[in-house]
């Protein structure tokens, strides 16, 4: 399994109801179904990915995230997962709120625009950053809402979302002392496990 999916799978309880937003080829859900007996669903819009999911027996639903999640009931899921998709949606703030309406908790992963290489490309070369974890040019990137870890945490504060856990890793999905000390400079990807504000759960 992909390293990032392995990290996520460890955050999900056995038997949980899981919704994976942008589930790709369904690897996470297939693994969770087989190993943690989760009741999982994935939303996806890529035709080839959908067919692949079906071949794996994954409950994949052809639905566009930008069309919203309002057809899902409050508390429909224990965990809503979104891997490397936040930066590509039209309204990340709205989507985050929705994720924590339909799910009791959510896991969000995204690439760090504040990585030192990105900073260096803008600062020294005066060019939009292109890196292994951000491979697109400015004109063809699907990533319309890139942010740094600090930006994201600021948004969580504004939306009163509770950050339960955070893992920051490098390109190879490894953690290091340097990354832990300066995540917003040396971290490539972050995994956030978010919950509703304390008062909302009472």
């Amino acid at each position: 399994m992909r390293a990032d999916l392995r990290i996520i799978s460890e955050l999900i309880a056995p038997g949980a109801r899981v919704l994976d937003l942008g589930c790709g080829t369904g690897d996470l859900l297939a693994w969770l179904q087989a190993n943690k007996s989760v009741n999982g669903y994935g939303l996806e819009i890529d035709a080839a990915n959908i067919t692949t999911c079906m071949g794996k027996g994954v409950s994949v639903l052809e639905q566009d995230l930008d069309a919203g999640l309002d057809h899902f009931a409050d508390d429909a899921f224990d965990m809503v997962v979104m891997t490397e998709t936040l930066q590509a949606v039209r309204a990340p703030d709205h989507l985050l709120r929705e994720m924590l309406r339909i799910g009791r908790e959510c896991i969000v992963t995204f690439p760090n625009f504040g990585h030192w290489r990105s900073r260096a490309q803008i600062l020294l070369r005066g060019r939009m950053p292109v890196a292994r974890h951000l491979p697109h040019a400015w004109y063809n990137t699907p990533n319309i809402h890139l942010c740094t870890f600090d930006d994201f945490e600021r948004l969580c504060r504004d939306l009163q979302l509770r950050i339960i856990e955070r893992f920051v890793v490098d390109d190879g999905h490894e953690n290091s002392a340097m990354i832990n000390r300066f995540p917003n400079v040396f971290g490539t990807y972050a995994f956030y496990r978010l919950g509703r504000p304390e008062h909302a759960n009472r």
Binding site: R17, N39, Y41, A47, I50, T51, T52, C53, M54, G55, K56, G57, V58, S59, V60, L61, E62, Q63, H71, F72, A73, A76
Partner: protein, 393 residues
């Protein structure tokens, strides 16, 4: 080469009859003294009987879904593109059952067959049948064929409604349900179109309150108009523009002909040929069954509650340009299935062909069916074989 030898064809098939002699209580309160269903099968039922698929037909469909009836027959069954060796519903692996529903006009008991009480055709007096009645009569056919549990019940449009009803009424007899271009209930707009169709038929002077057979007539005009209305709703605006545009039948406008645009000629042809092959009373009965279908109504209008009991996994397919049974109707089913915590996959196939898409050979549509049915079969094969029947004493 004849159609029977065509690659991927199930070849020459012969319809069979299943007779149920026991009284059959209908949802409307009436009881049929018995009934007959005409059906066809394709492929081979495995000894463990776990590879059976039931195909349910839509409004104007029938039992002849695949293959041909003779070496000279040039018109294969209505879903021949999808059913056959190597096709999405692969008859090398699945045993496929297709029938003409109760109330139909293709050989099963219906308005055209004799009412044993009078010795005359039932005509308009044939009782109102529902999707539930169809499903329960199909279950008797399955018993007759020795099929306890279908690997899948598959249907498009009204056929998908039957698949949905199967999953609710016989949870342990359906491993999977495939609902294509379908809905959990008709919208007011849909019922309105059906009512126009019914009015076209019943207002035809040749309808004779449904007793047209005795009068030696048939409401061809009414049925033809009913079909024309239906047909327009099965296509899409873009699809019709692409196919007909504003092409004229003759070179110049106002040439004094009845038919000026190609689309008029097409619709009239569709209407005429349909009125020749279909029975008006059956059309009324089938549209009523469509209108009344609403499995959620017994569960406080909560479809998720209705589906609670289902044990099947589901595949729900919609088509982008279908406005008669739009993708939103499919999503209502998907939402209810998710709320009821059922296994479900869904796809929205890009197609300009409207509701009719479900009958067409569209590459992505067939890929989805192949992938999903392939997975289903591998899950069936991974399961331990069912206990052999015990021979007590």
């Amino acid at each position: 080469m004849s159609a029977a030898d065509a690659a991927g064809s199930v070849g020459i098939v012969t319809p069979r009859r299943f007779a149920n002699d026991a009284p059959f209580a209908l949802q409307c309160g009436e009881t049929l003294p018995g009934f007959e269903l005409v059906y066809e099968t394709y492929g081979t039922l495995r000894p463990d009987r776990r590879n059976a698929i039931l195909v349910c037909h839509a409004l104007s469909g029938h039992h002849h879904a695949a293959g041909v009836h003779s070496a000279e027959d040039t018109r294969p069954g209505w879903w021949d593109s999808c059913i056959g060796p190597g096709k999405p519903i692969d008859t090398r692996r699945f045993f496929v059952v297709s029938l003409n529903n109760l109330g139909g006009c293709n050989g099963s008991t219906g308005p055209l067959t004799d009412n044993p009480a009078t010795g005359r055709p039932w005509g308009p007096d044939f009782p109102t049948v529902s999707v539930r009645d169809w499903v329960h009569s199909q279950a008797l056919l399955a018993d007759h064929l020795g099929i306890h549990r279908f690997a899948a019940v598959i249907g498009g449009s009204l056929g998908g409604m039957q698949a949905l009803q199967w999953s609710i009424d016989f949870p342990d007899r359906v491993r999977a349900a495939v609902l294509i271009a379908s809905a959990a209930r008709l919208s007011a707009q849909n019922i309105a179109f059906n009512e126009i169709a019914r009015q076209a038929i019943t207002s035809d002077p040749d309808f004779r309150a449904g007793h047209y057979r005795e009068a030696g007539t048939h409401p061809d005009r009414g049925l033809s108009i009913a079909r024309m209305v239906g047909h327009v709703t099965y296509l899409s605006d873009d699809g019709m523009r692409e196919r007909f545009g504003r092409e004229l039948k003759s070179g110049d406008l106002h040439a004094g002909r009845d038919v000026e645009f190609q689309v008029e000629s097409y619709l009239q042809h569709q209407g005429r040929s349909f009125s020749r092959r279909f029975d008006a009373n059956t059309y009324l009965l089938m549209t009523r069954a469509l209108d009344y279908f609403d499995p959620a109504s017994d569960f406080g209008d909560d479809l998720a509650a209705a589906l609670e009991r289902a044990e099947a996994q589901f595949l729900v397919i919609a088509f982008s340009s279908d406005w008669r049974f739009s993708a939103d109707r499919s999503r209502e089913i998907v939402d209810a299935l998710v709320a009821a915590r059922k296994r479900v996959a869904s796809a929205i196939i890009e197609s300009p062909h409207g509701h009719d898409s479900f009958l067409l050979e569209l590459p992505r549509y067939f890929e989805v069916l192949r992938a999903w049915l392939g997975r289903l079969l591998s899950e069936i094969e991974d399961e331990p074989a069912p206990e052999p029947p015990s021979h007590a004493g």
